[in-house]
Amino acid sequence: MIERFLFSSLALLAMTSAGALAAETPASLMARYAQEAGVPASALSAARGAALYRTDHPGRDGQPVRCASCHTDNPKQPGRTRVGKRIEPLAPTANAERFTDAAQVEKWFRRNCTDVLQRECSAQEKGDFIAWLNQIK
């Protein structure tokens, strides 16, 4: 019991300090994902990221689904959730807050990759995805 308490306190402490250091940039996240994938950051591909964004996948209900279904074909534009709420643009050039908080980025990759691809995205895919969005002017 005490061990469990200690462990969760430690985990909480780790999370809090990670939160305090959350100021990431698209480039630092690309570097992190490249490292996780075991490739140099220069091996990330904007073209693969674009393809990931634009490709239709069979959704859970059999209907085709892709990132653009909610985020629109132009990631500089705001999107809409399924219930009509505005989604701020994905491209950092249109929304400076994008890809600046590692926990947020991980949360949305986890959720949206499972919704669109029916699986989690690999570190390489996440890096490619940011690489593409980050070079949009």
Partner: protein
Amino acid sequence: MNTLLRGIGVLATVGTVSLLAFSLPSGGEARGDGGGDVMPRLTHKAWQQECASCHLAYSPALLPRASWQRLMGGLDRHFGENASLDPATRADILRFLEANAADSGTSRMGNKVMQRMGANDAPLRVTETRWFVREHDEVPRATWSRKSVSSAANCAACHRQAEKGVFDEHDIRIPK
């Protein structure tokens, strides 16, 4: 027709205002629960941040505790979408939802919802509660599916002040 509608609007407004006047708490309560069609005024950081990234942060007063427990227990399959949270945030939000749920006795809105709730009911959708169905029985089916509305979950499409928790009749404008 227009005059008639406006008349109804005025009547509804007067009705709501007088309801509000009579339902004001007598003591100096810290929490504003205006009664009528106003959600209890609540603040909770994670509830507002997390739930409202995809939809309005629906008031905890709209569903009973058992509903919130079911809902928060299945966030990885949340109405067809993955809305999973880390365990600490999930527990934090659930505690808040339970403390202010319709059957917590903390708000007039909750009491109204519970008046029409069966003892063992734990609906997952606010739109399935008898309270909601009755409040919206004059809205034609086709209106809900308009592109400008998208879904009955999109309160703010018609309730212009929904983000502020205000659902008075005179703030309603149904988009084309």
